[in-house]
């Protein structure tokens, strides 16, 4: 037999099936749309820029939906992963790097140089006036793009995963929460002269909601403001543990959260890029728990300052500033989304999000949720690990017949959807102990 070593085993790169004319047409529409967007960004003439913007949104939306339908909406429903690791766009090829650079660049402009986005922001003024009764700003531009991305790519996910009712309902849920709770409702609140409040974001992700300053701001607004503070506190401290106990952290991370929403829709083409190695897992633990500790510490310091006078000086505030810059902007935005095409769609959720860390601790230690494996049916094919956006090496558990109880699992259910042998299932069953292990062998060291 021919001797093949792991290192030399590289398949002659297969030429991909040519993109056919219809698919090219849909992609061309998207590309034209992006061009029109660029046009709008550089056009100082407000009227013309607005027109460009409308054309851009129309082309991008129409093109994306047409492409998604063409690629995933036709033919038989089922797992559609062909050529995933062969295409440049989804396997860290040139297209992926360009996409990553563009996204990262956009975030840099958004956070630190919004003046360059001025033309684009102005094009949204009429829309912003109608929804929020005020002029648009960079965050409104961002929110609009963000929501549009969730909706359009949500459409793609609905077509792609239409064989799985779990995925359909879950995708609709993230689309609903992004559009309703993270975009329209905060806008309407502003319209009615109320504080812009996101009912779907909680401390410690939306950390200032429980900061003394944030609370004071809300309370100023009377009854509704008080309710908002109450809602935030209850959700963070009472509802989160209870819901996580019954359903696992997925009730939030892959059903409600906006960051999760973007990851599950726009980020879906990149989910397999998350690193499954033990080394990556070590980084995860090293980063995400200290970040949770840091934000808890900052919150406590600020409250101590508030209640006992500022004898701690400015430590709390400077830490807060640092956190806002390093974690809030650089990590969650620039790296979190900008690096989608390179590091996968859950970089932020996995390595940085304090809410995910908090939910994860609850999930690991106080929850009924787990992924069960079906006896000895696993063939170690690795499809489950591949689709895990949180970088869990799912097959390590499956091939040993063990249930998966991991802090990081967001319960997206893709492993179960992708498994060709029906091995995995997400369950909230009451009993966690006494789960039968069919394969009695337990390898001696697996890390984790």
């Amino acid at each position: 037999m021919e001797v093949t070593s792991d290192h030399s085993f590289a398949l002659a790169q297969a030429p991909l099936p040519v993109t056919d004319a219809k698919e090219k047409a849909t992609l061309a529409a998207v590309a034209l749309g992006l061009l029109a967007l660029l046009g709008a960004a550089f056009d100082d003439d407000g009227e013309r820029a607005r027109l460009s913007m409308y054309v851009a949104l129309g082309l991008i939306s129409g093109g994306t939906l047409a492409w998604a339908w063409y690629k995933f909406g036709q033919g038989e429903a089922g797992v559609k992963q062909n050529n995933l690791w062969l295409r440049a766009s989804t396997s860290r090829g040139a297209i992926a790097w360009v996409t990553g650079l563009v996204l990262t660049g956009f975030y840099v402009l958004l956070y630190w140089f919004p003046q360059y986005l001025e033309n684009l922001i102005r094009t949204l003024d009429p829309f912003s006036q109608a929804l929020r009764n005020r002029a648009a700003d960079q965050w409104f531009l961002y929110g609009t793009f963000y929501t549009l991305a969730v909706l359009l790519m949500g459409g793609r996910a609905l077509w792609k995963y239409r064989h799985s009712r779990y995925q359909l309902i879950r995708t609709l849920s993230v689309m609903f929460f992004q559009l309703g709770f993270a975009f329209l409702l905060p806008g309407l609140l502003l319209f009615f002269q109320q504080p812009e409040f996101y009912f779907s974001y909680f401390w410690p992700l939306k950390y200032d909601y429980l900061f003394p300053g944030g609370v004071a701001d809300l309370v100023k607004n009377g009854g509704l403001g008080v309710f908002m503070v109450f809602w935030g506190a209850i959700m963070s401290l009472v509802a989160t543990p209870i819901l996580t106990y019954f359903y696992g952290k997925r009730w939030y991370c892959s059903w409600v959260c906006g960051c999760g929403g973007l990851a599950e829709t726009a980020g879906d083409p990149y989910r397999h890029l998350s690193d499954k190695s033990r080394a990556a897992w070590r980084w995860e633990v090293r980063l995400v728990y200290p970040i949770l500790a840091l934000i808890v510490l900052i919150t406590v310091l600020l409250w101590v300052n508030q209640l006992y006078g500022s004898f701690l000086g400015e430590i709390g505030n400077s830490l807060n500033k640092f956190y806002g810059f390093a974690i809030g902007a650089v990590f969650s935005g620039v790296v979190g989304v900008g690096f989608y095409p390179i590091m996968g769609n859950r970089v932020w959720c996995r390595f940085g999000c304090p809410m995910a860390a908090y939910l994860g601790l609850l999930q690991k230690h106080f929850s009924r949720f787990r992924i069960t494996t079906n006896g000895g049916q696993c063939i170690s094919c690795g499809n489950c690990s591949n689709v895990c956006e949180m970088g869990i090496d799912v097959k390590q558990y499956a091939q040993r017949g063990e249930p998966i109880i991991r802090a990081s699992c967001v319960g997206c259910g893709m492993c179960s959807t992708a498994c060709p042998r029906g091995v995995l299932n997400l369950e909230n069953a009451p009993e966690r102990v006494g789960i039968k292990h069919r394969n009695s062998f337990t390898p001696i060291r697996c890390g984790y």
């Binding site: 799985s164 009712r165 309902i169 079906n374 006896g375 259910g413 029906g422 299932n425 069919r438």
Partner: protein
């Protein structure tokens, strides 16, 4: 075919030579389909009952 069944439950039924009525009646416990999937047990149980009725 197109359904996921729990290995532990099925094996147990086979090993203990469980009566077919019990198996059909408790089909739900063997279901391993993901959440929100359409459940087919009622249809299966109905068909089983019909066949039985014809036989009698």
């Amino acid at each position: 075919m197109g359904l996921r069944l729990r290995q532990a439950v099925c094996e147990n039924w086979i090993k203990t030579q469980t009566p077919i009525h019990t198996v059909i009646g408790r089909l739900k416990t063997a279901n391993f389909d993901p959440e929100f999937y359409r459940r087919h047990e009622p249809a299966i149980q109905r068909q089983f009952a019909e066949i039985l009725a014809v036989k009698r």
